[in-house]
């Protein structure tokens, strides 16, 4: 495989984590405009741990996921009782605050005669843990995809379990779910934390793939893209968001057929698709039909 294809495939894997994070909240009935913030929290905290403190990547990734979950809980606690649009706006405000805080973050240390660490709007360069350990791009691709497969397997297991059914019941009608004894608040907080951790995992892998991050990587465009991925792919199964990422990054950007017009094509595609399928290509109906057909 040439370097370009590896890069495209790695990107597809990385942004799948973010799309899955948006998807998890969507099936619980909440639309977040702020998952990019947790992606950023993961990228910054994981990058600082490996680049400044020399923590091995696996531990840094775990710590990044924990901080992503923690920040998501902090944002979720006061806002999850809001519904629909109001929750979307609150998460947008929180995410933009996070981005500005990244712009204000200056924390540089001298390592091997070089300043390393976040430098405000100048970005954060030198996240070279993967590069210095001699991990080849192809190996990194394998790491990203094995993590993605693990996450996906967890999603599929949960969706077939009682927990998954409860989750969808909260998304479909929170009042009804509460009336049959589901603790809706605890459920939503758990979902928010898990989605935050998932986005942070994507972020830490993104930071180590690119070796350079800057605050505007994590602006509202990224957040709405992840929502769009989940929504065009479909809300019926965890494969949906992956399909969404594949269509945009794989088909449109990766093949370079629509260079210069990619946004026009992707934008039109999304709008037209949502006309006919407001819950995406693989929505609950299609998934149900497929399951009945093949099992």
């Amino acid at each position: 495989m040439d370097e370009y294809s590896i890069g495209v495939l790695t990107n597809i894997g990385l942004f799948s984590f973010l799309a899955l994070s948006a998807y998890l909240l969507l099936i619980a009935g909440e639309m977040s405009f702020g998952q990019q913030a947790f992606f950023g929290v993961g990228a910054y905290s994981g990058g600082m741990l490996t680049a400044i403190y020399g923590v091995p990547l696996p531990f840094a990734a775990l710590a990044a996921m924990a901080s992503g979950a923690l920040v998501a809980l902090l944002v979720g606690l006061p806002t999850l009782r809001l519904r629909g649009l109001y929750f979307a706006m609150a998460t947008l405000a929180a995410a933009e605050m996070a981005r500005i805080l990244f712009e204000l973050l200056h924390f540089q240390h001298e390592i091997d005669g070089e300043l390393v660490g976040p430098d405000g709007t100048q970005g954060f360069r030198g996240i070279r843990w993967v590069f210095e350990r001699g991990v080849e791009p192809l190996d990194y691709l394998a790491i990203v995809y094995s993590l993605l497969v693990t996450v996906l397997a967890a999603f599929l297991l949960v969706e077939r379990s009682r927990l998954g059914v409860t989750l969808r019941s909260v998304g479909a009608d929170p009042e009804l779910a509460a009336s049959i004894g589901v603790n809706v608040n605890r459920m939503k907080l758990g979902v928010a934390a898990a989605a935050g951790a998932l986005a942070a995992l994507g972020g830490v892998l993104y930071a180590h793939h690119n070796t350079y991050i800057e605050p505007r990587n994590f602006d509202i465009m990224l957040g709405v893209h992840s929502l769009a991925y989940a929504l065009i792919g479909g809300l019926g199964t965890a494969f949906g968001p992956l399909l969404g990422v594949l269509v945009d990054l794989g088909l449109l950007e990766g093949t370079r057929v629509f260079q210069g017009y990619r946004m026009i094509v992707f934008g039109g595609l999304v709008a037209v698709l949502l006309l006919f399928r407001p819950r995406g290509l693989l929505d609950e109906r299609v998934v149900h039909w497929l399951r009945a057909r093949f099992s």
Binding site: Y86, M89, M97, I100, E103, L227, G260, I264, A271, L274
Partner: protein
Amino acid sequence: MLADLIQNTLDGLTGGAAYALLAVGFTLIFGVLRRVNLSYGAAIMFGVYFATWTSLNFQVGLAALAALTIAGAVLAGAYVERLCFAPHYRSRGSPRASSGSIAAMVASFALWMQFEEAAILALPKHLYAFPPLHAGEPLRFGQFFLRVEALYLLLAAVAVCALLHTILYRTRFGLAVRAVIDVPVAAQLAGINVSWVFVRIFALASAIGGLAGFLIAASHEQVTPMLGMWATIKGMLAMMLGGLGSLPGAVAGGLVLGLLEAHSQWFFGPQMRDLIAYLLIFALLALRPAWMTRWTSTRSAS
């Protein structure tokens, strides 16, 4: 110190008047359709680019430029309305309303990306000059000065509000709009063509957006593709500060946002300016959600 405060307040009014005008258009769509049109700013930017492109290729006066901006914004608005909002009107109020609302919002974002790329393809430079509204000196009051454009923007905001008030409370169309806002099903049963009301409200809001876009571009004397995102974010923030769904609230929200930004920029710098605005919105939503729902509490906005 006091002089700075006064000058900041005057600057804040200038910015605030622009935000107020944007928030009025946003509020009109949200108040009637209960939908957020994320590509509102992008459609305005499209109108401004349409006018800029024309002025680069032909000799046109200011009035023609304003008309072109408004025409472009209404055209872009019609495209957004047909593609993102019209198909989901039927699902309003039904159990699937919330997924229709999300779909409409994400679809409107998708068109935002289209407008942005189309603008960059048509005029690829990062920045284009826009003819100024007023070439002379700013108004001076002793040691303070106020840009003339601010007066135009404020005047436009007041005029638009007066016009909307007349339409909403003095015409049959306004009666239909208010009926649709209160109880859409009853309005439908009474023979009001609800989707037609939506279409006209959308056109009206787009025209207001075009006017705002023209005045803003003429007072900044430049256009960039970033105008779209800027207008959407600022308009949305001002609308939320004003309590979502009230026209006087939108004007007040715009002015408050402008004043807040001018003062916090002076005291804490540009990054803190944005941080404080977002913090205020977040705190309002988290601590006083009733502030945001007081105009819309009869029907949920989900």
